[in-house]
């Protein structure tokens, strides 16, 4: 089935089998490997992308289910060499260690900034609790989210 969608601002048409998952379309077909597969069961958030501004798990979404939608992956955030404010905040606060969760964390914080620009710490924690990090202990990530919210 053909799926027409916007990916990081560009119109795309993908002709994939009906059972193809979005994460495979992104990683294998489009070679956008920023979106990570980890748990594969909608728990960890390493595969987080935005569909029409909302965070979803690409690991458990059919590619066909983004037909007509606007999809943003971590590759779509930076403007050339200029990092997105959320990415810059992660750099400024050293909010990554091994980095495997980072694309998903960044996308979750982007979703937070879009949905709750005035988010308080409790709201930040609500979003970050949806995404698992086994390294950082979250404090730096919360600080990065706070900076991003102030700047956006």
């Amino acid at each position: 089935m053909e799926t027409e969608f916007t990916l990081n601002g560009h119109a795309e048409v993908v002709d994939a089998p009906d059972h193809e998952l979005l994460i495979d379309t992104l990683r294998a077909r489009m070679r956008l490997t920023g979106t990570k597969r980890s748990c594969d069961v909608e728990i960890c958030g390493a595969c987080t992308v935005l569909r029409d501004g909302q965070a979803i798990s690409a690991c458990t979404t059919l590619t066909a289910d983004v037909d007509g939608a606007d999809v943003v992956t971590v590759e779509g955030l930076a403007d050339g060499d200029e990092l997105h404010p959320v990415q810059q905040a992660f750099v400024d606060h050293s909010a990554a260690q091994c980095g495997f969760c980072t694309p998903g964390m960044v996308m979750s914080v982007v979703a937070l900034c879009l949905e709750y620009p005035d988010a308080d710490e409790e709201r930040i924690k609500e979003y970050l609790s949806s995404t698992l990090c086994r390294c950082t202990g979250y404090v730096k990530i919360i600080e990065a989210a706070q900076q991003a919210l102030e700047q956006m």
Binding site: D18, V41, E42, G45, A55, T60, T61
Partner: protein, 278 residues
Amino acid sequence: MSMSPFELHRPDDLLSAVRLLEKYGDDAVLHMGGTELLLLMKLGFAQPGHLIDGKRIADLKRLEVADDRLTIGAGVTHRRIERHRDIAHMMPALVSLEKAVANIRVRNAGTLGGNLCFAEPHSDPATLLAALDATVDLVGPQGGRTLPLREFLIGAFATALAPAEIMTRITVPLPRVGARVGYHRLALKERPTVAAAVVLDDRRCEVWIGALTAKPLPVPEAAAVLASSAGRDVTAAAEATRAAVLAVDAGEGDDYRAQLASVMVRRAVADAQPRLAL
């Protein structure tokens, strides 16, 4: 994990969806958010040849708030309920329940109808909606019918859905203004381990325990104690809950589960907030 191939169909209306489900019979399954279905398929537990996507059916996405009831299309996502201002105002217990379901991504894709139709015993909304005596509308080849959710849920992963039947909406009758509604859960993993829902009204109290049994468990003894004490005799209600859980649980006979359930009832009563006017 990868899935075996299937054909995806995208009907625009309910009748076409029912016809497709009828046509392909056991080889077809309704696909909404897919948050449960696709997981099952990735794990190889289900291999349907046809997925009937219900997300283009506008009827399933209606959400109406009235003075006396919420009417929630089966295709409404958890997230829409969670972020609905009027629901937050009238039924804060439902919104805080929804906020705790899974994670933001599952709530953005997963639907209330999908949660109830999958009938996972560890469902949050099933417990509160059973306590509120919600009804569900079903449409199938034989036409439409309405069932109390309490009857729709039969057991673990078992519902009253007939072949090719689709849940179209959930109607939640609201208790009168001023009545208090509470829900409290303990979740050791992703889903609730044990939960309690209470409705505290002069005329009618409800106490339901979720996640411990195959479907939500009513505890009328605890409800009666709360009704006769204007919601105050929480200790007796907790005791009645403990006894009720031990009685059904005889097989697994676990004091700890009964203790947790009684604590959930105490906390649900403590958390209960008044139902406000629209």
